[in-house]
Symmetry: C2
Subunit: 243 residues, 2 copies
Amino acid sequence: MRYFIKFSYDGSCFHGYQIQPNLRTVQGELEKALSYINGKNRVIVHASGRTDLGVHARMQTATFDLDRNIPLYKLKMAINSNIGDDIHVYSVEIVSSEFHARFSSVSKEYNYYINIGEYDPINRNYVYQYNRPLDIEQLKRNIKYYIGKHDFRSFVSAEDIRENAIREMFDAHIEVDKNIIKFVFVADGFLKYQVRNMVGTLLSICEGKIEDLSIPKILELKDRTTAGRTAPGEGLYLERVNY
Amino acid sequence: MRYFIKFSYDGSCFHGYQIQPNLRTVQGELEKALSYINGKNRVIVHASGRTDLGVHARMQTATFDLDRNIPLYKLKMAINSNIGDDIHVYSVEIVSSEFHARFSSVSKEYNYYINIGEYDPINRNYVYQYNRPLDIEQLKRNIKYYIGKHDFRSFVSAEDIRENAIREMFDAHIEVDKNIIKFVFVADGFLKYQVRNMVGTLLSICEGKIEDLSIPKILELKDRTTAGRTAPGEGLYLERVNY
């Protein structure tokens, strides 16, 4: 029986999504809870993708197989009562054995938040504090160049050795709510650090460190060193996985 | 020289506002930073009032005296660089020696947030998770009875031994934003646990444990046992102190 879960978590409490020995990770916590529910037999959780240290998820998805048929509301309760209060499974469904949280997804949305106002201690783990002036119109002019089918090699961590960096960006825009600027990215897939590098590059452009309107050229060069810095993890949210 | 500061903090990181031996408190952290700035001579910080364990402040105020005349922007930087990232001083002014953060204030606003939707792990320390159905119209009908000049003895912690529990409530209303219900209270002063007891009583009314529309009677009885439970601290914010 293949189960499909939707869940959210506070990334500031974990050493990232992926399981690691001796570190508290989202996958590690979920597998521990599920293995306990499964009579102490290991259950492998396959997520839609990883998130890094400090990165949050409003909707992350995963599948796993259990030999037992557990009523869905009971399984939801059982998982939530066996994990910390910093993860929450809000939906459990049964899916066919061909369904895969990653390969069956058609697109994902990531949001990135920066605060350009006074530092807010209550939000310190949930938004990137940016203490320089920022030209919103310049951000808007530049962010639209990410839209379309591109080779995003220039925006990929050197750690990501996947050969294919071609992804289709369906949407890239910003929304402004007082001092909070929200970057929205929707694509058929994302590479390691891609969103943080795309945001960091936009900020580098606004700071005059990278030429205005140069994103098309950076994409063409396929060279990580031509893009800007990596924005920190605390501002990033996996917002939604679409199927 | 008397200084007047406005600051915010994440209450989930402190054992309340008031200084206590061997516990991390907001007052303790501020006095430690200021005493360091003041050449290791103790500086006593007088706030507009205390907040309890887990309670947040978007705008708390305090005064303190220093022998030295420090440029305001430098003092702001000096305090912020000597305290944790869970407190932030956003304004420093010089005031006359008659000015007092508590006695000079004319009113205060507290907000209380409850989430009636799915549990949100990212917000777990910043909103009270309420998992029962809630009749918003019943809340609105009942909350308005707090407005006016009343003896709030029935809503005061037994620990608060001040003799006078008469306070004037200038405003009491709720605002609804999707699944988040925000309770707004503005008064010339608040007693210990008063807001949490007022919110808890409204919830007890909605749960049918206390009679509908009985707040006038509860106020009249001046008996803590006639009111409802104390809502937890994580949903409460000192929003503003008015002068």
